[in-house]
């Protein structure tokens, strides 16, 4: 595949003809895929530095509606940094500097018009370790609605039930909604955290290694849940577990040393990788 062909493919895929990068040196087949559905996130020549450390280099990636996209790669490849850039959580680190664009539904998330609060209500996040607030299960799930000004008890009750059902944990906790969420097991805590993210009905859910701290049974439950959620939500999941990416995702992006090496249908990445590095990684030769 030549450079010009690549450019064409990308233009078709993103339906954004004009400004897409000429500098796609990093990966010959980085974004050469055919998109399905409306694009939700589009990264365009996105670069990120931690002080002098160039952690993400010329990222061009598109995630689409109602898809589960997995991001895989060895430790330190920038996959967590990238997912945290999507809702600008990465800015909590003061030394971070970015260049380029990330478009959410066509709007640049780094634009002054878009506040982080607004972005994060639409783009929910589930974290690596279960991190419930030291509050009751009910208050955890109702938190997002409350900070956004929803105070009516009746509506909050509905939101809590619907979200907990959505996170497949309603039956386990419905009798103890007023107990502290710290009393739950790790897997249950993580599903409460997912319910908490669902409660404000986001458009996209970002998951940063959501099962890395959990036992195998809890992991299976969360994976099933992710698949169910993809009916209503677009999901981006970072994982260091290749089997997990293979099991749950529709598309997979392979990150290596701050570059996107390959982004394609999950089956293609695992069965027919185009890049040698991808092949080495998915076959377990390093990482």
């Amino acid at each position: 595949m030549t450079d010009s062909q690549l450019k064409e493919d990308k233009n078709m895929g993103t339906e954004m003809g004009t400004e897409i990068g000429t500098e796609v040196k990093q990966a010959d087949n980085a974004s050469g895929i055919i998109e399905s559905g409306q694009p939700v996130f589009q990264a365009k020549d996105f670069n990120l530095w931690y002080a002098d450390n160039h952690a993400l280099q010329n990222i061009n990636l598109t995630f689409s509606e109602n898809e589960i996209s997995a991001i895989i790669g060895p430790s330190g490849c920038g996959k967590s940094t990238f997912i945290k850039a999507l809702n600008r959580m990465v800015e909590l680190v003061p030394i971070v500097r970015t260049e380029g664009h990330i478009l959410y539904r066509g709007d640049n998330i780094f634009d002054k018009k878009m506040t982080v609060e607004e972005l994060r209500t639409k783009v929910g996040m589930v974290f690596q370790n279960p991190n419930p607030f030291p509050k009751s299960i009910y208050d955890n799930v109702a938190y997002g609605a409350r900070v956004h000004g929803i105070k009516k008890k009746k509506i909050l009750d509905q939101i809590v039930e619907k979200s907990l059902r959505g996170a497949a944990i309603w039956d386990e906790v419905k009798d103890r909604l007023n107990q502290n969420a710290y009393g739950l097991s790790g897997g249950q805590q993580q599903r409460v955290c997912i319910a908490r993210a669902l409660a404000i009905e986001p458009d996209v859910i970002l998951m940063d290694e959501p099962t890395s701290a959990l036992d195998p049974i809890s992991t299976t439950k969360i994976e099933d849940l992710i698949q169910q959620l993809s009916k209503d939500y677009s999901i981006v999941v970072v994982t260091h577990n290749m089997q997990q990416a293979a099991r749950v995702s529709d598309k997979t992006a392979f990150f290596y040393q701050g570059y996107v090496v390959e982004h394609d249908d999950t089956s293609a990445i695992f069965e027919n990788p185009k890049d040698k590095r991808t092949e080495d990684y998915v076959s377990g030769r390093f990482g």
């Binding site: 209500t121 609605a145 956004h148 000004g149 929803i150």
Partner: protein, 308 residues
Amino acid sequence: MADYNIQEMVQKNKNNKRTKIVEKSIPIILFLITCISILTTIGILYTLISETFIFFTRVSFIDFITDTEWNAFSSDPSWGIISLIMGTLKIVVIAILVAIPIGLGAAIYLSEYATDRTRRTIKPILEILAGIPTVVYGTFAITFVTPLIRGIFPEVNLYNAISPGVVVGIMIVPMIASLSEDAMSSVPNTTREGSLGLGATRLETVFKVIIPAAASGIISSFVLGISRAIGETMIVSIAAGSTPNASLDIRESLQTMTGFIVQVTSGDASYGTDLYYSLYAVGMTLFLFTLVMNMISQWITRRFKEEY
């Protein structure tokens, strides 16, 4: 089931004026509150410097630092701060002679020898000891320690340096013990095991490995202890007497800088007299002493910060 749309409600709330105003004003309010601590320092410096300045328009600065007599209440007063500084030094030296060995010994025991249970019993006791008001320690000095000392050495005066010195020392033991223990406990176990694994005894490990590694924390705890002893007021006011002198005799009555301030303010120092302004000159000297000590301690902590 949904008779509501959350994102819609969120959007409506987005332009909530109150949230926006709160979000903007809170950091400013908190910053203003934080400035109070700076204003306090400015207040202390302003108070001490301006009144001390007036004092030195009336009393020669040279006399203040060279005269060996302090006789503030006489009709022909003399203002030799050395007498008061010597009083403070006598107390401080006795106090650290008591506090450093005991505090360090306790820290070593707690950090290196004690079982977890012993540690959990002893530490609250040290905390209680640290929380006892100094007026109580002062009473203890005059009603218990002084008679005890005079029982053994009858030539010791009722007011002397030994009793308040020892009690000030005991007062700062908890501080030295707990800061030194923190410093030693933060030496990583691998270092400790490295020494014990070679067949060194606990004692050898303590003196050859742990203490050198924790030296900066330990020394800065000593310096902070000295600073506390310099500023200690009630124990010396109650048990050390009120006769300033530059002698080295620890059996005799004396007066410290803090003791002088208390003596003057508990009587009536009429505003505007030399005596009134002398309070600030002494306060300034005291402040400088403790400031230097605190800075030394901070410098040691920063300069020799252990990296594990």
